[in-house]
């Protein structure tokens, strides 16, 4: 046991200070996408929705509905569209399932 005691002393503290202080290890985590409003056209939105493996994206009229709860941050949509980028949000706990559902306005139809 003395062996383990000394090992522990020599290692020092590794514990994160989160939530008191931010932890830079969170920078490594994959995070859900964020969308540039009004930059995605309807058919591109449909493509994105079709691309999403966890059905987190769907188009409702002129809005792209993004369900952050269903999103697995796989990054497929970010690869597919320049208007989608990693959001960097990892603190996503919600007290209501509906708070995780986001609506992003799409690019208005051309020629209207």
């Amino acid at each position: 046991m003395t062996l383990w005691f000394l090992r522990g002393l020599s290692r020092g503290v590794v514990t994160t200070r989160y939530p008191a202080r931010p932890d830079q290890a969170t920078a490594l985590l994959p995070t859900p996408p964020a969308f540039r409003p009004g930059a995605i056209g309807p058919e591109e939105a449909d493509q994105l929705a079709a691309l999403c493996p966890s059905r987190a994206l769907k188009r409702e009229g002129a809005e792209l509905v993004f369900d952050a709860g269903a999103c697995t941050a796989c990054g497929r949509c970010e690869q597919a569209s320049p208007a989608v980028r990693e959001s960097g949000h990892f603190e996503l706990a919600a007290t209501s399932r509906r708070d995780l559902v986001k609506r992003i306005p799409l690019k208005p139809e051309a020629g209207r």
């Binding site: 952050a68 269903a70 999103c71 996503l92 706990a93 007290t95 399932r97």
Partner: protein
């Protein structure tokens, strides 16, 4: 082996999650009130029982890591307990397999009130699996969920934040996040 376990009762018939607005709202109010009671009662010492309803074993790994030196859940006053009798919070992973209805309900009913249910991971939130003969598709179908933690898997940081939100020691942010980027 079927001799050993009785056929399970039919799955609960609550309508899927994001719909059903008024009932939803009522549940949320109740949940909020409950969270305040909990924060006042044991905001600094809370015992957690986990429940795997069909996860792919990765959420479990992340939950185990919560007690690892890097995260050390105990410093925040959270403790894991194997007995639901002593548990205040139920941490549920997986898409809620129908073969697991009985076990899930029993575990929930074995917990003394006030109790919190936290759904963990994209499966539990209805992401990966659609409802079908095998799974309900979301924990919300069977248990009254108070806090939802997205992610596949939710990292220990996300879990910490979720737990702190569940006991009202952090305010949840996501409702104010637009998931929109400028430029």
């Amino acid at each position: 082996m079927n001799k050993d376990q009785d056929p399970l009762p039919p799955a609960s018939t609550r309508d899927p999650m994001p719909s059903g607005e008024p009932a939803e709202a009522a549940i949320q109010d109740a949940a909020g009130e409950l969270r305040h009671r909990i924060a006042s009662q044991f905001g600094r010492s809370l015992h957690i029982r986990t429940l795997d309803t069909g996860s792919c074993a990765v959420c479990e790994q992340e939950i185990r890591l919560l007690t690892a030196p890097h995260y050390d859940l105990h410093r925040l006053g959270f403790f894991f307990t194997p007995a639901p009798r002593h548990a205040d919070l139920l941490l549920v992973t997986g898409p809620m397999i129908r073969a697991f209805d009985v076990a899930a309900r029993k575990t929930y009913e074995a917990m003394p009130g006030p109790k919190i249910v936290v759904a963990t991971g994209a499966c539990a939130l209805g992401g990966v699996y659609q409802a079908d003969a095998f799974v309900h598709g979301s924990v919300g179908e069977v248990l009254p969920v108070d806090v939802w933690i997205p992610g596949c898997p939710p990292s220990p940081f996300a879990l910490l934040q979720g737990l702190l939100v569940a006991v009202g020691r952090l305010y949840e942010k996501v409702s104010s996040l637009p998931f929109e980027v400028a430029g």
